[in-house]
């Protein structure tokens, strides 16, 4: 499953759905709103492109590593400290490829998928700087 959504996700449901008789390892990554002195944050996305790029990253990961399944759910809209932002569920036959696949996916997501965060502090707000490479390449 690849999806952008406002609602929270159910981790247990997705982990159970990722299991098969061949599954030996499932690695999950959950990104969470950290308290950096903020009141809340707003996530914005270029929806149609973001979902397409998430699917590309899933396909890249499955080509690079022997994974059985990949699910990525990214939330948009207003979020508070402690709220879930993103869930990645990677299933594989063995732990090593599951860990590597999951790390690959979150690193690529942060570099390329058009999603932005605006943090709201008590008296101000700020856009979060990204990890995308700058410049003409």
């Amino acid at each position: 499953m690849i999806r952008l959504q406002q609602d929270d996700f159910n981790v247990t449901t997705l982990v159970e759905a990722a299991k098969s008789r061949e599954t030996g390892a499932i690695v999950t990554f959950i990104g969470i709103v950290r308290d950096d002195g903020i009141e809340c944050m707003e996530l914005e996305a270029y929806h149609e492109v973001a979902e397409r790029e998430l699917a590309v990253i899933r396909d890249e990961a499955m080509k690079e590593f022997p994974l059985h399944s990949v699910d990525i759910i990214h939330r948009t809209g207003p979020l508070r400290v402690g709220d879930n932002i993103v869930l990645i569920v990677v299933s594989a036959g063995h732990r090593k490829e599951a860990f590597l696949g999951c790390e690959y996916i979150i690193d690529r997501l942060k570099q390329t998928v058009p999603i932005w965060k605006k943090e709201y502090l008590k008296d101000s707000s700020r856009w979060v700087g990204g990890e995308e490479r700058h410049g003409h390449s």
Partner: protein, 92 residues
């Protein structure tokens, strides 16, 4: 020709999420962005560096595909294209 401009994050805050430009056939990306700059100093300051070239941190897409490299300014737009402009991404 009609070109749709989609702006995100701080660019959206300056010019709104969606604009439609009626441009001459063969207008390049630079021309479309200068057209938008004519109506907004804030947009011009956010989009261009002091030399008048598109700032290196500005990310551009045509029809959902990134355009990069030194020639991105001169890429020609076509009727019905969607040009997206945004800052570096920060998801996850």
């Amino acid at each position: 020709m009609i070109v749709r401009i989609k702006a995100f994050a701080r660019f959206r805050e300056i010019i709104g999420s969606e604009n439609t430009l009626d441009l001459d056939e063969g207008t390049p990306v630079l021309g479309a962005l200068k057209n938008l700059s004519a109506g907004s100093k804030d947009f011009r300051d956010a989009c261009f560096d002091r030399e008048g070239t598109i700032a290196s941190h500005v990310v551009l897409m045509i029809n959902g595909k990134r355009i990069s490299g030194r020639d991105r300014e001169s890429m020609v737009l076509h009727d019905g294209d969607e040009l997206a402009i945004f800052p570096p991404v920060a998801g996850g």
